[in-house]
Symmetry: C2
Subunit: 192 residues, 2 copies
């Protein structure tokens, strides 16, 4: 995909995540670095790094909060519901490769985030230091963040929403190469 397509695709993935979170019964606030509007979400603009911006928000929240990344197009209301229905102080969804894809924090004032690197381990350590009870949510839908070309295969296979349509409308489909599933793109469409 070229830069324009990547940006459009990021926006479509965001729409899908917002739909899943809204349909799970949550009110959505987008944390942005630049002014942005969305029909189904409020917006907070903070010209800060991800951790600084989130921790500033957490310090001022008096109710449970779900932090979720916008590159999780396989999210469904059911998978979101599994996070927010935890009985623990913290529910964490590990991303592939040690990241954190979502965090449910029952008492935001008792927690701070530390994204990037092995943030799953960092968040587990922060919870342990704070004596918090943690649930690790076992979901491939929320574990699958979209970083690499191979991740698009999962969207074609398991996507139910706009992200899948975005790809199929632009000529992406599955191909079987050496017994494994790969992505191909219709030659009439822009080169992948």
């Amino acid at each position: 995909m070229n830069r324009e397509e990547r940006e459009a695709f990021a926006r479509v993935m965001l729409d899908d995540v917002i739909s899943a979170v809204c349909d799970a019964g949550c009110r959505v606030t987008l944390l942005c670095t630049h002014p942005f509007t969305h029909p189904r979400a409020d917006t907070v603009v903070k010209d800060l790094g991800l951790n600084e911006a989130l921790n500033e928000c957490l310090a001022n929240l008096q109710e449970p909060v779900l932090i979720i990344m916008s590159d999780l197009p396989l999210a469904t209301p059911e998978s979101i519901h599994r996070i927010i229905s935890t009985n623990c102080d913290l529910a964490i969804v590990p991303g592939r490769g040690g990241g954190t894809n979502a965090l449910f924090i029952r008492r935001p004032e008792d927690f701070h985030v530390d994204f990037y690197g092995a943030s799953f381990l960092d968040h587990m350590a922060i919870a342990e230091e704070g004596g918090l009870k943690v649930e690790i949510v076992d979901s491939f839908r929320l574990h699958t963040d979209v970083d690499e070309k191979e991740d698009l295969v999962e969207i074609i296979l398991h996507g139910r929403q706009n992200s899948r349509k975005f790809l199929t409308d632009r000529g992406f489909s599955l191909s079987i190469e050496k017994g494994r599933v790969a992505m191909q793109r219709d030659p009439h469409e822009e080169a992948f």
Copy 2:
């Protein structure tokens, strides 16, 4: 890892899967191409391809069966329990990249398997043709099969059993490279 280590690691992963399945309350039968014994499992030896061997077994089974691959070292009794407690005719656990990592089949005589390639889609199609109700089990523990070096990261992060110990005993650990988690191996141990 060299060939000897790979074989030993495959055996340790098998032990972990058998433990998880046994601890979920199932009786385990290993389908092997060569004679093999295991303290916690029966063995059936069939010198056939995977699909031919499994379909021969299915045709003769009168009770529900779980088919699970042996390279799923993150399997836990809880994740296995999610599959076998389905209300549907079939529960399927997709693997990363279109494969099938586990299948629970309520009436084996009504189903046949078709592994390799996009077997997730093939199994969904076979179920649809047979009018079977299907549950797709949303578990990253069972979605994560071990094919690539990067998959070992998940074992170090989320493994609870012998596969994790096998790796750490042999000098494998996590490293952070460019903000992402990777595997490293102690230079005193054999080159990766």
